[in-house]
Symmetry: C2
Subunit: 274 residues, 2 copies
């Protein structure tokens, strides 16, 4: 099927354009998209260069490219009008009505969104990341007292990437503790976790999916047998029930979804915002 | 100054609404915003509940709330029209023109953007995160052969969070190696790094900023003295020059910016897209 190029164009990182564009194009499952990010388009020359890149795709006989952009400066957006493409820019559409409502002129400064405008936010994210790393996998340097949330679940249920995502995206202090033989045999959580009961949040996962993930990791041994996987998940479920731990089934969810559901369910505040 | 509430409302995680809203409101530095994410608003009842929440803020005498939303279903957006707010929705604005250009009706299915529609992408991000963790800080389990990029720089220059961000956001395999006394004294990189010269990318940082970061980490000792910090950065710069390692000064940059600049500069492909 003919490929259509989608440009994610930005005067800064391109993260906003990528997120915006991705949300929209995933609504059209019948298409074959090729995504291309053009970040740091922050001079007139670079905008003209981008126009040439877009036009070259079009000139090759491909379908009209789609360009999602987040260009703060109106004159840059005007140059893009020369490109033979469908051009959608969030500032074009939303900035003027916002300015009217707020009764303030926009600063038109590039890079305010994902820039270092807030050193404090940068430090918070770094510190949260360090916290997640130091409190990963039930390691010895536990600082559960300052944790916002402590994820519990079996090996490969998604604890570590979720903790890291919560730290990097939201500055949230997320620790995690793996449930293993010790907990399954006693049916109990260790005392230092019971003390933090209100911070516990469980990750569950369907047996088939867990097997699939574990097999990619370690194909041999009991780690990924149906028996072992089912046993661990059954015991985990008992522990969640025994202590009344809220939990989410990660089987069908992306890291973003798991993270959002944890924040939504626990009420933990975002310390920083993306 | 009067606080104005900005709602980031979504039928899914809220990540797109947060990113979009943040990009726009950071253009208005004279305002005092309070951001509130309302994720998983995916039934009519939840939309009505959200309308009540928004109206309650307004009824308290606060300025008219601003609502950025990413609601796929038109009937949900219609219900939101009852809220006493300024409502900006990207699907309202962009979906119809896109559908015309693509000659395809949108699926109107919620959750396609940050959902598990692509298990393959999930696995890639998890594997990339595991790679970053296993290849963090020059640890012993080095798999530099399969790395996409290897970050080098002094302690606290931002290597670890950048590697994790590259993994979680883009599925990129990023390792990192800290430059320490050994490299500074010899002025050389170890052989296993020289072999991977084309994958090396340097993080530099201004002395004052590095001191500030290190002091928060470890206030005592030589680690954060002006002399030590300047010495390390001077020697690092020599190594970057000696081996022709491209690098970026992280002082003024957020994790997103550092990551985008690395991808832009190295040409490393995103394995997945946000």
């Amino acid at each position: 099927m003919t490929e259509r190029t989608v440009f994610l164009l930005s005067d800064q990182t391109g993260v906003t354009a990528e997120t915006l564009g991705h949300s929209l194009i995933t609504q059209f499952a019948g298409q074959n998209f090729r995504q291309m990010t053009l970040p740091f388009i922050d001079t007139e020359d670079k905008v003209r260069e981008a126009v040439r890149t877009i036009n070259a795709v079009r000139a090759s006989g491909a379908p009209k490219p789609i360009v999602f952009s987040t260009l703060v400066q109106a004159e840059f957006r005007a140059i893009l009008k020369d490109a033979d493409c469908m051009h959608l820019d969030i500032f074009d559409v939303f900035l003027e009505p916002l300015a009217q409502e707020l009764e303030e002129e926009p600063s038109f400064e590039a890079g305010r969104a994902h820039g270092m405008s807030d050193i404090d936010a940068y430090m918070k994210r770094i510190e949260a990341t360090n916290f997640a790393l130091a409190n990963d996998d039930g390691g010895i340097s536990r600082n559960y007292d300052v944790a916002d949330v402590i994820l519990v679940g079996v090996s490969r249920s998604g604890k570590t990437p979720t903790c890291l995502y919560l730290a990097l995206q939201y500055g949230v202090y997320a620790a995690n503790y793996p449930l293993t033989e010790e907990e399954f045999e006693s049916g109990k959580l260790p005392d230092f976790l019971v003390k933090q009961k209100d911070k516990l949040f469980g990750l569950s996962i369907k047996p088939e999916r867990l097997r699939q993930i574990r097999k990619e990791r370690r194909p041999m041994g009991s780690y990924s047998t149906p028996q072992q996987v089912r046993f661990e998940l059954r015991e985990t479920d008992k522990i969640f029930k025994r202590y009344g731990i809220p939990h989410v089934d990660t089987t069908e969810f992306s890291i973003e979804e798991i993270s959002s559901r944890i924040l939504d369910s626990t009420g933990v505040d975002r310390r920083v915002r993306p």
